[in-house]
Homo-oligomer: 225 residues x 2
């Protein structure tokens, strides 16, 4: 890998990544071979490995790139809406739209849940990407007027990120026409979540929120609001 990327090497890298995505779209991730990718890019196999650590790394590079591209649009969603519902709908629908052309590719990423695997969305290696993403949900919560017990509120951004990951996971493998099932899942669970949030302050529901707060504290540590 270059220490100080020159425009030339940057271009080669881009060409190889682009070739990889082409081949992935043409053959599917599993069926695509590194040899074909290299040939498409007009380069030797070794060159592909000079710029990318592994075949999986292409997917990560794609994800990283897509996330950066999405930044302005995500930002717009957040500034142009106020309620948590509007913001969540905006964020999540935007992601679906953005990834839609490469939906099948995302499956290659989702395939690794193991936090020990570097490319897993839960690994230490992907922490920067993850935290950057969670920050958007933190902004979605801020000033939105959500009321929640203080034992849970600080964890809400992370929980929402997790919720969205679950949706994406379902979406990636959703074979219903136009992924209608995913949208149904989104719609109904969103409704349920918003209802639950509305009544979260009710003393009656304390037996529900107390263990939740204890659990979050134990798993994620003590986060202040």
């Amino acid at each position: 890998m270059p220490r100080q990327p020159t425009p030339k090497s940057e271009a080669t890298r881009a060409r190889i990544l682009s070739a990889a995505l082409d081949v992935f779209r043409k053959r599917g991730f599993a069926e695509a071979t590194m040899r074909e990718i290299a040939a498409t890019a007009g380069v030797a196999v070794g060159a592909a490995y000079y710029y990318f650590d592994s075949k999986d790394a292409f997917v990560m590079a794609f994800y990283d790139h897509a996330q950066t591209e999405m930044f302005p649009a995500l930002d717009r969603v957040l500034t142009e809406s106020r309620t948590l519902e509007q913001r969540l709908r905006g964020l999540i629908e935007l992601k679906f739209q953005t990834f839609a052309p490469n939906r099948a590719l995302m499956a290659a990423l989702s395939a690794h849940i193991d936090p020990g695997y570097p490319l897993s969305p839960f690994s230490a290696a992907t922490a920067p990407i993850r935290e950057r993403d969670i920050a958007f949900f933190a902004r979605a919560v801020a000033d939105s007027g959500v009321r929640l017990p203080p034992s849970i509120l600080p964890y809400l951004p992370r929980l929402l990120w997790f919720y969205q990951m679950g949706l994406m996971l379902y979406w990636v493998y959703d074979r219903s026409p136009r992924q209608a099932n995913t949208h149904l899942l989104f719609e109904k669970t969103m409704r349920m979540m918003l209802f639950a949030l509305k009544f979260s302050g009710l003393p009656l529901l304390r037996p529900l929120f107390r263990p939740a707060g204890e659990l979050l504290k134990a798993l994620y540590g003590d986060i202040r609001a």
Copy 2:
């Protein structure tokens, strides 16, 4: 594969499977090679493939075997307890105990969420195993006195199975000492779930259970109680 398994071929198959599990435990699933497995079983690589379709198939065979072994104990749990809480605790804790010695191996199974992948817990190919498993949760629900809106009750066994799958997934990758985090997750979420079940009939909570019922009906079809 033999049409009518003779005792001899059955023994060879068992020897190879046992060798595979040995090597998996010694090296971990990913690091274990088919060549070493075959060598350990005192057989050529081809023989391993004569009895097992793939390296992954060993894990499935192990799971299948373990599930069968567990049968009587699971049955005992169900007959010897009555409340849903006791039964769920019994079932799930028994599973953890049974799989504990091969916890790392289970990761190889959990790695495939793709329902299109034959060995996925959600694939068509594993439907028999899955349904057999869900049947236990159906028994856990029956006569337990759980009250739930009729739009949801029929789906409860499936939902509980899903809950347990989630727990297992977390458990498989849980690096906390003695998997303490998993047990905490189990404890707290169980408490929350039981509380939610208790008040599920309250008219106040209809906005929570109505969309849930609609969603389940759309995703899983109309199931009668």
